[in-house]
């Protein structure tokens, strides 16, 4: 975990939008992958998505060049992992 949430955040929490937003973005991204959107179509139609993931990466990911997607079974055990290069200069 990162730095602890300041005590006053119980009353006025300015960071929750960004953290929840990141969860939403990752969730949407995984959903699209799970739906099996074709690779080329994915690259074109979700060009804007790269922008979002870049934002996500810039905000939260320590490694700025890749984002690791872990796929798990229903019990939460790791099945496999996929490294997605999310810079706009890399093809998905």
């Amino acid at each position: 975990m990162g730095s602890p949430r300041p005590l006053w955040a119980f009353a006025f929490n300015v960071n929750k939008r960004a953290t929840k937003g990141l969860i939403d973005v990752v969730g949407e991204f995984c959903r699209h992958l799970a739906e099996g959107v074709p690779r080329l179509e994915f690259s074109i139609a979700y060009l804007t998505f790269l922008n979002r993931i870049s934002n996500l990466q810039r905000l939260a990911m320590p490694d700025r060049t890749q984002f690791m997607l872990l796929r798990t079974d229903h019990d939460g055990h790791r099945k496999d992992e996929t490294v997605l290069y999310v810079s706009p200069f890399h093809d998905l």
Binding site: M1, F12, V14, N15, G21, R52, N55
Partner: protein, 272 residues
Amino acid sequence: MTLPHLTSELAFELTVRISMFSILLASTEYLPQRDQLRDDGLMSWDVNSARQRWYLAPGVEQALSAVLRYPNVLILLLARATLAGWVAFSPIPSSQQVVPVFILTALGASFSLRSAYGQDGADQMSWLFSVALSATLLVGTPGARLVFLLFMAAQAVLSYSAAGYAKLVAPKWRDGSYLPAIFRIEAYGHRGIAEALSKNPRLCKAAASGLLAWECGFPLVVVLPLPMALPFFLGGFVFHVAAAFTMGLNCFFWSFVATYPALYFVLQSRGF
């Protein structure tokens, strides 16, 4: 013990004003983090404007962009916060605040078109409240205000019970192992509580069982005598204070506790 009597007028005022405070808080919380709303931010309008095909229809795109692009969206948020603050603290009764409520609902609808990222159950509750209040003030009769109170009370019961039964089907909620997992994540976590829970599975199970019992049992308030329903109110109050302190879910407190005067009034009206 004699329980306080809540008139429909007071229940309506309390529900509206507490909900409006929640909207005021939610709107102003965006402003210190306004970088998120820029075109290169997580909630970029530049990105999200391509999200729905109809956003790009002739005329629609220009109209939406005029309101939602950065930095114009900051004006929207400021206006929403100002109107919510006005209704929350104004000496004028909420039942006479038709114009501010309508504008506020329109601003809320516009903002929700911009990006769904970062919104939570408190925002959903506030949105339902805004639409219901607008419809109520449009009709403008005491009967409509009673229907509004009934709707908000039903929404509280439905929200808690739906959340409870969604958890109940998960084995790891029932054995308590999700609790330390939740507190370990950065978004909603708390290091000290995560460490304490990780070392004490019995405490996890007891806390999770208490939460499940409270949420799943919440619909019992409908059939219990009012004095016996009050512990469910107290449980909700404690739950939301704890969630605000430990998970940072501060707006949930206001948007859900706002339904309690409505629920109290509805239960009191049964006569037992």
